[in-house]
């Protein structure tokens, strides 16, 4: 979520509460002969407030499970998650008296720190990565469709090369896709998604062999590489001067396909970064809640 002027209210409220609590904590510490304690009434109050903030922030995960329920806009929930999560930090620190305590409480503080820091890390990523993605991946697509689009790109590349070089037996997957596509078109002749495909050349030109060789050696392996590979697209400019001039448009189209495949890989990696931190943030927050429950029960009991 982008932090913009819409968050001003949340920011001011969080800052005001933090400053007020910090001032109160200062006087509380001065008045405590044995230092602040989580078990004192004031310490308990901070603990309850901090835990409530954490619970409300954690409700975002539940909210995402019932997206269709009318429980307020998602932006509001995300804002609450961010700012209450940040507010929980000083409240929990005041509750703990800036001490780690015993085994369980130290574990809790470590988990809390990791969850908070990973959340802040994710928030920072969300401020910059979308812009980076817009600049560097103009040819982006839906992440869930990425595999399908990549296969489509490979098919398009085969179609282009086969239209001048003839059928290429090594490209069996592409041939199968084209056959399936043709079958689907026959079943639904008026389908708006139908793509007019050029058939493979029956009398390939001599230069077609060169194109076929480059396709099999560089282009096809590149299009079928791992979705996250950092490999730059093959340079096929040398083909331009060695092939007929009227092939230039085809070659440019091939180059565009390779470029798009490259950008999809970039998009995939950026997507992984933008979502990967959640693998730390979300599961650890679950563990944090469970251990916090143990702490609350035992601390209140004794």
């Amino acid at each position: 979520m982008r932090i913009n002027k819409d968050h001003r209210g949340w920011l001011l409220a969080t800052l005001a509460i933090t400053i007020a609590c910090a001032i109160h904590y200062h006087f509380y510490v001065r008045a405590s002969p044995y230092g602040p304690s989580g078990g004192s009434w004031i310490g308990l109050g901070y603990g309850i407030a901090g835990t409530t903030a954490m619970l409300l922030a954690g409700l975002l995960a539940a909210r995402k499970k019932v997206r269709t329920w009318r429980l307020g806009p998602a932006r509001a929930w995300m804002s609450m998650h961010i700012w209450l999560g940040l507010l929980a930090v000083p409240l929990i620190c005041f509750h703990a008296g800036f001490r780690l305590g015993g085994t369980l409480t130290t574990t809790l503080m470590v988990l809390f720190a990791v969850v908070t820091l990973s959340g802040i890390f994710g928030l920072i990523l969300q401020q910059y990565l979308p812009n980076i993605m817009t600049e560097r991946v103009p040819l982006e697509t839906l992440v869930g469709q990425m595999d399908h689009v990549r296969q489509g790109l490979a098919t398009d590349a085969y179609e282009l090369v086969a239209s001048v070089a003839g059928p290429i037996p090594e490209a069996a997957e592409e041939q199968a896709r084209l056959a399936a596509e043709a079958t689907a078109m026959q079943a639904r002749p008026g389908n708006w998604k139908a793509i007019a495909r050029k058939p493979p050349a029956t009398e390939p030109l001599p230069e077609g062999a060169l194109l076929k060789e480059v396709y099999l050696r560089e282009i096809r392996p590149y299009l079928w590489r791992d979705a996250r590979a950092r490999t730059p697209p093959p340079d096929i400019r040398a083909l331009v001067i060695r092939t007929p001039e009227d092939w230039r448009q085809k070659l440019e189209r091939l180059d565009a396909i390779c470029e798009e495949s490259y950008q999809l890989a970039v998009q995939r990696r950026l997507h992984d970064v933008l979502h990967g931190w959640l693998f730390i943030h979300a599961p650890l927050s679950f563990a944090l809640f469970v251990l916090a429950a143990f702490h609350i029960i035992m601390a209140l009991k004794y």
Partner: protein
Amino acid sequence: MARASKDLAKRLRFDLWPKPDFFRRWYWLVGVIFVAAGVAAWYGLHMGSQQRQYLPGPVSQGHASFGDRCETCHEAYGGVPTKNCLGCHADRAHSKFEVKTPECASCHVEHRASGVFLAVSNASCVDCHGDLRTTRTEPVIAHTMRGFADHPELGPLRPGKRDEAAIRFNHKLHLSTTKIGEDDKLGCVSCHGIGKDGGLMQAIVFEQHCEKCHAQSGLGPDSSVQVVHDTPDVVREDLKAKLLFAAVNNPDGIFGSTDPGLPGRVRRDPLDASKSLAVFIDPGTPKSALAMAESKLYAPLDASAEQGASSLLDNNKYCFLCHDQDGTSAPGDLPAIKPTKIPTRWLVHGEFSHRVHDLLKCEHCHPDIRDSAETAQTNLPPKDTCTRCHIDGQEQSAGTSCMLCHLYHDTSKDHVLRDGRRKEISIEAIFGKEAPKAQKPAP
């Protein structure tokens, strides 16, 4: 490269439900795994260290043997009631005049850094002494004390107080006298030493500190008898025995005259004309050796000799140089000596330790001692002397904690309390299980 929306849409498949990406598929599973790991970790800690994992901080050394059993001290949802402390510790009252006794846990806070448990904060003391209420009509100690700056003057130095000891002693005289050789010059440590407990000064012992110059000697017909420093009745018996001893050992010198028959011998009067040894030591016979010796011993202080130090000592060598007579006595009766009542401890409400202050020169705290000529002068340092080092509110201070000088649980004053309520607890009860076996030392 510009792409039309339709061209883009042609590439996508909306007839299939999109497969959630890797993250969405695995979030919840990883979350469940982490939750299970958290529960497993808690369970493992619970089985291994029982309740130690819940400790908010270390347990003090004295409680470490049962630190993993919270219920020993804590009551479920009830804090730490004093009755749980009394399960091991004897009840230790502070004062029989206190209006309420605070809970043990209000001053002794556990689960802090080791050692801090015993360091009671001044605030706990100020809780009561900041506005002291007692069962007395009026408190006899200061009742608004919020810090060392509010501390009143030390008790023996307050207006109207004086040294009530019934003994004459002149510090100025003793520290400046020229009658003693350079090698034997008197200093503070000549008489004053720190007691075995390190706190109070040792009591002055006549035989150890005074006898060298003030020996009760020169008594008897031949001035050979020296008596002990004790009560008059003991001194009389000692004197009798020693006079007899002298008489038996030197009968000619004391009783007899020389044989006039030997040439060169000069007849001379005997030292004592007693007809018998019984008369010699008969206190009822005015001229007996015993009576003569006692008249010297108990000669009243010759006040006219107070002008000069040397004349005072020269004319008053015996008991009443330092002691006072208690009442009067009939002729022939032994006088009663007033009990000296020299305090062994001046600060009865404070625990002062000379050992801790050993590095300081005596004159640092007792600067006027060399000018002290009167017994009535208490010679204790005023509270201002303490505040030169014990400075409130400064880091560079010897400390102003109430506990530095004062005890809350002072069982030394209450033997019945200390002995009557002593508790005995088995090792099994402390450890809550089979007592740990003694470890063999490593080879």
